[in-house]
C-alpha cells in the first residue's frame, strides 16, 4: 500500500490538465436542451434492468457483475461529461482507457438520446448471454426508452446524439474487450483445475457437480480500473492453519461454530439480508449498486451527480473483486464448513450456502468496504439510510447510520452465516478501504 499516495498525487496532477481541456471542449459545444426527466428515466430504467439481468444471467457471479457495473457507470459518465463544463474524462485515469470520441464543437446534442444509444449498446453487449426473456426485455426497454428519449427532440439532434452515443459505446466496448474478464465460460468454473494439496487449502464444499472446482481462479489477474493491479492492496497472510485447540486458526473457527449454535434472530436476519446469492439476488455488488441508486433517488440527485456516483461505485466494486480474488487464490484458504466438520463437529451445517471458492479474504467484506468508502466520499460519513434492496424478495428493509455501518454489518453477516472467519472479514474491509482510495482519487468534476 506504500505507493498509493504517490500514485494518487501523480494521477491528480494529470487529471487537472485533462479537466482543463475538457472544460474548454465542453464550453465550445452548445448545451443540449434541458431534459432532466427524460435523462433520468433512460438512466434509471437501464440500471433497473441491469440489476435484474445480473440476477437472471447465469454467467453473472459477483465478480462478473461488478465488472458490468463498472463499464456501465463509466460509459454513462463519459456520455454525460462530454457535454458538460467542468467535467473531466476518465481516459488517462483508468487503466487502458484511451480518450473517447468527443462531441462536435458548436453542434447541439441531446443527453437522453446519447445516453440511450451508449448505455443500450453496453447493455446488449454485456448481457449478450442472457436468456430469451432477458433478450426480450432488452428489446422492449430499448424500444420504450428510445421513444421516451426522442420525445420532442429535433430529429437532426436526435440522430447526431445517437451516433455520438453509439461511437462512445463502441469505444467503451473495445476497451472492455481487453481486460481479461470479457469471456466467461461454464459460468466461471474452469474445466480443469488442480486442487492444492494440504489441509489448509480449499476443497469443494457442495455436491453440485459443476462446483467441484472453484469459481474464476484467474479473475485476480484481470486489468484493474483505478488501481494499478490486483496485487495493489494485498493483504498479509491469514492466521496460520492449525488444528490445535488454542491456535489462532482454531479459535477463529471455533468462534464461527459457537456463534452458529447460539445465533440470535437478528443475527440470522443479518446473515440472510446480506446473503446476496448469485442467481437469486442482484449479487453483493448489485446490492451496493442498489443502495447507491436508492440514495441518489432520495437526494433527487442531478444527472451529473448520478453518473459520477454510478461510475465511481462501479469502479470501486470491480477493483475490489479483482483485488480480493487475487488474494483468495494466493492464499487458497479452506472454508469453515470443511474445517469445522473435520476438526470440531462432523455434522455441522452453516445457515448460508458456502460459496464455491477459497475463503480469505471475504469477498463481500472487501467489496462492501470499497463501496462504503466510495459512497462516504460522495455523501458523507454520517449519511443515514434505509436499505430496501430486498423488498421484492420479502426481506424487510434495514436501517443504517452510515455506509460503513452497513459495510461492517455486511462483513459480520458472513461470520453469522458460517462461511467466513473473522480475519477474512476484518482484513477484507481494510482491503476494500485501500482499494477505494484509488477510486476516490479519480477526478471527475470540480466540486466546491
Amino acid at each position: 500500500m506504500a505507493g498509493i499516495i504517490v500514485r494518487i498525487a501523480f494521477r491528480a496532477a494529470a487529471c487537472r490538465l485533462i479537466l482543463a481541456i475538457a472544460t474548454v471542449t465542453a464550453a465550445l459545444a452548445a448545451p443540449a436542451q434541458s431534459a432532466e426527466p427524460r435523462n433520468l428515466e433512460v438512466l434509471g430504467t437501464w440500471y433497473r434492468l441491469a440489476l435484474e439481468l445480473v440476477r437472471h444471467t447465469p454467467t453473472y457471479s459477483p465478480p462478473v457483475a461488478s465488472r458490468a457495473f463498472a463499464y456501465l457507470g463509466v460509459t454513462a459518465y463519459e456520455t454525460v461529461a462530454s457535454g458538460r463544463d467542468g467535467f473531466a474524462t476518465l481516459a488517462g485515469q483508468l487503466n487502458g482507457l484511451t480518450p473517447p470520441p468527443v462531441r462536435e464543437p458548436g453542434r447541439d446534442y441531446d443527453d437522453a438520446m446519447a445516453l440511450q444509444a451508449s448505455v443500450s449498446l453496453l447493455m446488449e453487449s454485456l448481457f449478450a448471454n442472457t436468456g430469451p426473456t432477458g433478450q426480450r426485455a432488452i428489446d422492449a426497454i430499448a424500444r420504450k426508452l428510445d421513444a421516451v428519449a426522442r420525445a420532442g427532440v429535433d430529429p437532426d439532434i436526435a440522430d447526431r446524439s445517437t451516433a455520438y452515443g453509439q461511437a462512445l459505446g463502441e469505444h467503451m466496448l473495445a476497451w472492455a474487450a481487453q481486460d481479461g474478464g470479457a469471456v466467461v465460460e461454464n459460468m466461471g468454473f474452469p474445466f480443469r483445475y488442480e486442487l492444492k494439496p494440504g489441509p489448509e487449502h480449499w476443497v469443494p464444499t457442495s455436491t453440485i457437480g459443476q462446483q467441484q472446482v472453484p469459481l474464476l481462479p484467474d479473475w485476480g489477474r484481470n486489468r484493474t480500473f483505478a488501481m494499478p493491479d490486483g496485487a495493489t492492496c494485498g493483504l498479509p497472510p491469514p492466521p496460520a492453519y492449525s488444528e490445535e485447540p488454542g491456535s489462532s486458526f482454531f479459535i477463529e473457527a471455533r468462534e464461527v461454530y459457537d456463534v452458529s449454535l447460539s445465533l440470535t434472530e437478528d443475527q440470522e436476519a443479518i446473515a440472510r439480508f446480506w446473503s446476496d446469492d448469485p442467481m437469486l439476488t442482484p449479487t453483493p455488488p448489485g446490492h451496493w449498486l442498489a443502495i447507491a441508486l436508492q440514495v441518489l433517488g432520495e437526494k433527487e440527485a442531478t444527472l451529473e451527480m448520478r453518473v459520477d456516483t454510478l461510475a465511481r461505485i462501479g469502479i470501486g466494486l470491480a477493483d475490489a473483486f479483482i483485488g480480493c480474488w487475487h488474494d483468495k487464490y494466493k492464499y487458497d484458504l479452506v472454508r469453515p464448513l470443511t474445517y469445522i466438520r473435520r476438526v470440531i463437529d462432523p455434522a455441522w451445517q452453516a445457515i448460508l450456502i458456502t460459496p464455491p471458492f477459497p475463503e480469505y479474504p471475504s469477498g463481500h467484506s472487501t467489496q462492501s468496504g470499497a463501496a462504503a468508502e466510495v459512497l462516504t466520499n460522495l455523501f458523507g460519513a454520517d449519511y443515514a439510510f434505509e436499505d430496501r434492496t430486498h423488498d421484492d424478495d420479502g426481506l424487510p428493509a434495514r436501517k443504517f447510520d452510515s455506509f460503513w455501518h452497513a459495510a461492517e454489518e455486511a462483513g459480520i453477516s458472513r461470520l453469522y452465516g458460517g462461511i467466513h472467519y473473522r480475519a477474512a472479514i476484518e482484513l477484507g474491509l481494510d482491503q476494500g478501504k485501500c482499494i477505494a482510495a484509488h477510486t476516490n482519487a479519480l477526478v471527475t468534476r470540480a466540486r466546491p
Partner: protein
C-alpha cells in the same frame, strides 16, 4: 452388434444374480424409428413456448396399445393412434381426434368422469381445456359441462388426485409468468390453481398462494400418510422470494404450505421436472428434480423409529452419479439444461433407471447447445451409470417433454421425445431377451377407475418394488396405462395393489412376461392384445 450387446447383457444379468455390488448394468439397445413412425408433430413457437412441449401416452382405442398425444406449441397439437403390432416396429397413424388445438404446452390423461374412457387435460398459453373422451379416440370440449374454468394464463404443469370420497379428481395447474410483462417479467409469477371436485364437476379454481412459476407438479404420498401432498417444482429464473414447495392438501381443508417450521428446507433451483420412485425399497419415494447445470435426487431423511417423517430431504445426486450437469458426449464444457425426467426400468433388471430430456432453452450461449438426452442405468449399489450414447438415445435435438411406455407391448419400454422446432423422436427398445418383466393395470369399479393415489407392489428377491400411481410430474406430460416392472431373472412375482384408500389387496403370484389387470375385489386377470 446386437449379439454383442446381448452377450454383454447376459453377462451383466448373471452378475446381478450373483449380487455383486456396483456391477455395470446391462445396456438396452434402442432403434430410432422416427423416420417411419408416422409422427410429424413439432413443438413450435418462440418465447411463449420456450417451456412446455409435453407428451401424453394413454390408450383411448381400447386395444391396450398406448396412443400418443404431442403438444404443438404455436402449431396444432397432434394425436397419433398406435397401430403397432405386438413386438413389431413402432407405427402410429395421425388421426383427427378433437384434440388438435393450438397453443398447447402439455397434456395429461386421466379418467375424470370415471366412465372407463380416458379424458385429457390440455395445458395452454391461454385457456386450459378438459377434453372428454367419447370412445374410439374421439374427444370433445367439456369445460362447460364439467364446470372447469380454464382461465387465461401460461400453464405449464399439472397434477391430479382424488380426494377422499370425491366423484371428480382434484386437479392442480401450475402457471408460469405473466406473459404480457415485457420489460420486467421477473417476479410476475401468476397464481397456480387447485380445481377441486364439487360433486360430478369442478368447483371454481382456488389460487395456491404464493405461486412461484411452476414447471412441474406431482401429487405424491411422500410420508405414506395415506393422503398425497402436492409437490411443486418452481423456476427460480422468475420468482422473487420463492422456493420449491410442498402443499398438504386434505379433503375439506384449506391447502397448507409446509415451511421451515415443519422441517421443509428451502431449495431454490431452476425446477423443471419431477420424477418419483422408491429407489431404495424403503417405502418412501425418492424425487429427482431437473434444473439447469445441477439436478437433484432427494431422499427422505429417515424418521426416528415410531415417529412420522418430516419433509426433510438430503440431496443424493452427487453420491449416486445423477447430477447430469454437463453433456456426457461431444461438447462438454458448458452445463446442461434438463427438462422431463422419468424413472423406469429400461433394461428389466429390477432396478429403476432414469431418463432425462435435455436441451437449451433456446440458444443460450452459457449452456450446451449439443446436449444429449441421458439414460442413467441404476447399478446394484444404487448408483447410476450413463448409457445414453451406448443405448442409442442420446439425441442432441433441443428436447423438452418425453414419455416412456411400452408402445409395442413386448415388455421392453420405448421412448418418445418432444423437441423444440424439430419433429418429435421415437425409439424402440430392442433390448434384452432374457430379462423378465411384468405389467400391471389396476382398476377400481366406480370412482377413480385407474386407482390414482394407490401403490403397486411387486416382490423381487428380498425387496419389494413399489410404484406410486400418479398423474403429474415430468415436464408437461406423462403416461397413464400399464405400469411396468423389470424382474431380472425372476420368472414369477408376488404382486398386490394398495388401493388409494389404503386397503391392501391380496398378494398374488403372477408369471413374468405378461400383462395383468388387477380389478379391486376381483383379483388379477391376465390380459393379452387382440
Amino acid at each position: 452388434m446386437n449379439r454383442l450387446l446381448l452377450a454383454m447383457a447376459s453377462a451383466a444379468i448373471a452378475v446381478l444374480a450373483n449380487g455383486v455390488a456396483g456391477a455395470e448394468p446391462a445396456v438396452p439397445s434402442f432403434v430410432e424409428e422416427t423416420a417411419s413412425d408416422g409422427i410429424s408433430t413439432v413443438y413450435s413457437g418462440e418465447w411463449e413456448f420456450m417451456v412446455g412441449g409435453g407428451a401424453a401416452a394413454f390408450d383411448c382405442s381400447g386395444d391396450g396399445f398406448p396412443d400418443l398425444f404431442l403438444a404443438g406449441g404455436a402449431s396444432h397439437a397432434g394425436f397419433y393412434r398406435n397401430i403397432s403390432r405386438q413386438g413389431g416396429e413402432l407405427r402410429f397413424e395421425k388421426q383427427a381426434s378433437g384434440l388438435e388445438l393450438e397453443a398447447v404446452t402439455g397434456a395429461y390423461a386421466l379418467d375424470i368422469d370415471s366412465d372407463g374412457i380416458k379424458d385429457l387435460v390440455l395445458l395452454r398459453v391461454g385457456e386450459n381445456v378438459v377434453m372428454r373422451g367419447r370412445g374410439n379416440c374421439r374427444f370433445e370440449r367439456a369445460n362447460e359441462m364439467w364446470g372447469f374454468d380454464g382461465g387465461d394464463a401460461w400453464s405449464t404443469a399439472l397434477a391430479a388426485t382424488w380426494e377422499d370420497g370425491a366423484d371428480f379428481p382434484a386437479i392442480a395447474v401450475g402457471n408460469y409468468i405473466d406473459r404480457r410483462e415485457e420489460g420486467f417479467p421477473w417476479g410476475s409469477c401468476t397464481d397456480n390453481w387447485l380445481h377441486r371436485a364439487e360433486g360430478a364437476r369442478f368447483a371454481a379454481p382456488m389460487p395456491l398462494k404464493p405461486s412461484h412459476c411452476a414447471l412441474s407438479m406431482l401429487f405424491t404420498d411422500w410420508n405414506r400418510s395415506g393422503t398425497p401432498s402436492l409437490r411443486v417444482s418452481n423456476d427460480r429464473e422468475y420468482y422473487k422470494g420463492g422456493q420449491e414447495q410442498l402443499w398438504r392438501i386434505e379433503a375439506g381443508a384449506e391447502p397448507y404450505l409446509y415451511s421451515a417450521a415443519d422441517g421443509w428446507e428451502r431449495l431454490r433451483i431452476w425446477g423443471m421436472g419431477i420424477a418419483g420412485y422408491d429407489l431404495n425399497f424403503d417405502g418412501y419415494q425418492e424425487y429427482f428434480l431437473t434444473s439447469m447445470a445441477d439436478n437433484k435426487l432427494q431422499t427422505l431423511t429417515k424418521p426416528t423409529p415410531g415417529t412420522s417423517p418430516g419433509p426433510a430431504y438430503t440431496d443424493a445426486a452427487f453420491a449416486k452419479g445423477v447430477t447430469a450437469h454437463r453433456p456426457y458426449a461431444g461438447e462438454n464444457v458448458k452445463p446442461s439444461t434438463a427438462w422431463h425426467a422419468q424413472f423406469e426400468d429400461m433394461n428389466n433388471d429390477g432396478l429403476a433407471d432414469l431418463f432425462i430430456a435435455k436441451g437449451n432453452v433456446a440458444a443460450m450461449p452459457d449452456f450446451a447447445m449439443e446436449d444429449p438426452n441421458n439414460l442413467l442405468l441404476q447399478k446394484t449399489d444404487g448408483s447410476f451409470a450413463e448409457a445414453g450414447d451406448r443405448a442409442g438415445i442420446g439425441s442432441t435435438a433441443i428436447s423438452r417433454g418425453a414419455v416412456i411406455a411400452d408402445f409395442n407391448l413386448d415388455g421392453m419400454l420405448d421412448l418418445a421425445v418432444v423437441n423444440r422446432w424439430v419433429e418429435a423422436q421415437l425409439w424402440r427398445n430392442t433390448g434384452l431377451d432374457n430379462a423378465n418383466w411384468i405389467q400391471i393395470r389396476p382398476l377400481q369399479p366406480r370412482r377413480n377407475r385407474d386407482a390414482i393415489g394407490g401403490w403397486i407392489e411387486v416382490k423381487r428377491g428380498d425387496v419389494v418394488m413399489r410404484r406410486e400411481i400418479t398423474v403429474g410430474g415430468g415436464h408437461a406430460g406423462g403416461h397413464l396405462g400399464w405400469w411396468h416392472f423389470g424382474l431380472g431373472g425372476q420368472t414369477e412375482a408376488q404382486t398386490r395393489i394398495v388401493w388409494p384408500d389404503g386397503e391392501a389387496g391380496a398378494w398374488e403370484e403372477l408369471r413374468a412376461g405378461h400383462f395383468y389387470t388387477i380389478e379391486r375385489g376381483r383379483g388379477a386377470a391376465r390380459w393379452q392384445p387382440g
